[in-house]
Symmetry: C2
Subunit: 409 residues, 2 copies
């Protein structure tokens, strides 16, 4: 009845199979955008530094720029005396230079004069008129950054697929790069099923449920740097579904069918995917729980990926996290994994079956993981969970105190 083959593929094999059949990673399309709207999105290209950075040698302290050789052996007991030639103010280009036995007052971030190769901090000096006592020996490069020391022209400062966030935006701003090429992957989410109505529906008609999965998917993908669009809700009818899939595949690189949990929707989806041009339907069901009724298909000539996710909110979530996200990462050539995996001790037994890979939402209990009560129809599980316990197909019930793998968010 369910139409799934008896021998289901393992999740990891299914991801490998789809990645290989669809020739991942795909060449990435990109679009220009201002840095202003880049936060949380991904770069579509490698970006190289157009210049050396810093553009001039710069102090990292308030102090005196000097020749490190002049400070050799200096200490509190045996200070070295240098002549103060003046000051280099902040924010000006200075042609100043120092010679042997000389120094110049410099500020944090300010230019270093020609001839100097170190900065002694104000705290390590005593000023006396035009002279300063240096009470510390300095090494070349101490308390300053040389021109080009940090970034060399041509160096990669942003990788293709890299997420734009607080960790890299400072480099871009510093180098004056305010226009970035963002990954331009069109992802559409199509909700299916006669029982599904838009979330905006104020009064729920009898027997209907609001479309939560599409919102979940949009927010999840966006959090991982893949903006998507919620498209429409398609009724449980072969023709409507086929028409909507074909129409939306003209625009979308990736089409996610979500929400339809009835057998007929699943059968229609499977049929439509079989009819896609080469290679068409690739995976019909995965050996995982929850998430078994997952469908994956693609079209290599046009570079299209189509996924049919199960309708239960929790099954949909788990498949999105453990299959859809890894596929998107592979497709975009991102080496990192979407979620971190840790080992954690069980705060209570967790019941598993041999022969199927299982994911069980879990909460944190004093540093241990406690499998969550709650059934797979629940929409609220992810809110309270700290992650998913993963039991491989070789693991059965695991006992309190044993260590299990946890996929954390």
């Amino acid at each position: 009845m369910s139409g799934f083959a008896k021998e289901l593929m393992l999740r990891k094999d299914a991801i490998e199979y789809v990645s290989s059949a669809l020739d991942f990673p795909w060449p990435l399309k990109s679009r220009f955008a201002h840095l202003d709207e880049s936060l949380g999105k991904r770069s579509g290209k490698n970006r190289l530094s157009p210049l050396d950075y810093p553009p001039f040698s710069r102090s990292t302290r308030d102090g005196y720029a000097l020749r490190s050789g002049d400070s050799a052996g200096a200490s509190d007991a045996l200070p070295v005396f240098l002549r103060v030639r003046g000051e280099i103010p902040m924010g000006v280009w200075s042609e100043a230079a120092i010679g042997e036995g000389e120094c110049l007052l410099v500020h944090t971030g300010g230019m270093i004069p020609e001839g100097a190769d170190a900065v002694v901090m104000v705290e390590d000096t005593v000023k006396a008129g035009n002279w300063v006592e240096v009470r510390k020996a300095l090494q070349s490069g101490e308390n300053l950054v040389f021109r080009g020391e940090e970034i060399v022209r041509g160096e990669k400062i942003l990788g293709a697929g890299e997420l734009l966030d607080y960790r890299n935006v400072g480099i871009l701003a510093t180098l004056g790069i305010c226009s970035v090429e963002l990954l331009d992957l069109k992802i559409g989410i199509l909700s299916t099923g006669d029982e599904i109505v838009p979330a905006e529906t104020p009064e729920l008609p009898p027997g209907k449920i609001r479309d939560a999965n599409a919102w979940f998917l949009e927010f999840l993908l966006s959090r991982h740097g893949f903006p998507s669009r919620r498209l429409e809700i398609v009724p449980d009818c072969r023709e409507s579904l086929a028409e909507s899939v074909m129409k939306n595949l003209e625009e979308a690189d990736i089409l996610i069918l979500s929400g339809g949990s009835s057998v007929s929707v699943r059968d229609f989806c499977s049929e439509i995917m079989e009819n896609l041009p080469s290679p068409g339907l690739l995976v019909r069901g995965v050996n995982m729980s929850p998430g078994k009724p997952l469908l994956m298909a693609g079209c290599l000539p046009d570079r299209r990926l189509v996924m049919g996710l199960p309708g239960h909110p929790l099954s949909c979530s788990i498949v999105a996290i453990t299959v859809l996200l890894p596929l998107l990462y592979r497709l975009a050539g991102i080496e990192a994994l979407p979620f971190r995996t840790v080992q954690a001790r069980l705060a209570s037994d967790v019941f598993g079956k041999a022969g199927v890979e299982e994911f069980i939402p879990a909460v944190d209990l004093n540093g241990e993981v406690l499998p969550m009560p709650g059934k797979s129809g629940y929409v609220s599980v992810l809110r309270d969970a700290k992650g998913l316990i993963r039991l491989t197909e070789n693991e059965e019930t695991r006992r309190k105190g044993e260590t299990v793998e946890v996929l954390e968010w």
Copy 2:
């Protein structure tokens, strides 16, 4: 010269002191927004469920709804026979009911008929005309969710300060909540210093640097659910700075002064903060490295927080992560910590000084942490780091193989 007291406050004490002097948490302001624009922002209020969920008892499997009592003792060897009364289609409200010895075909997500308290999966049955062999004993509640089982009317479904993301959006959509009250905290970032020019500046004038810290701060805060605005770049002049701070404090709840690393800017900032109405300047310098020249001030009657961050990119970043974010979380009453802290083994020695809390960027090396080379003036450190090694004020140099605390992102 630098104007900092000899006895600096510990970072944790400074956070406690400011939180207490400014009476954190503050009552939160909020604004209405559509769910569409809520991703990654924070809720300004507790939100309670307006109804029971699910609104009707619903199957979590394709199968037959039955009275669990009727399946008592059923097994492959000794199946129980039930009469199939028909089917409840998806997406319709059904008044159907079953009696003893009866069952109804139901679909995943579909309604459960009156009288049934369990669903046997299709896989555990054999159909024979109008009869079905049930080959498994079921418990009450198995494979279905009762009306109101998951969420009870009046239950908190979103907490004040909670981040809106994929973990909670499904619940809101399910309950038809598409208008949310978002935290409305106005955070302004003011860049200071004669050497600072906008990131958009195409050709860098002599001795200038582009404003990277403001971008970093905006992206960091946004990633934590606190949208902010980059305001203007104020020159290194007492009057301009005082005027800009006062003008911007009319609008901003939180004003962050960033980028000015020269001694005079720091002195001006400190003076301006001292002149704020009660309590004014609270912290002048913190016993941490980098990040010592941090200024914190506030105005209790108007509920304003003003922070003067150090100008080095790395110092600014570390203070933002370890002081500014924890303060914002405290201010908004968020109990979670902004970053997770783990214990990790050192892949090489890390050099520390007693008496000062130190943060050292570190990379991951086969599961161990390796302190990063690179000076505090570098803007690119965070891109490669996996987190910050924290050496408490009681820790000096730690050796390869020893375990240290790491603040991860």
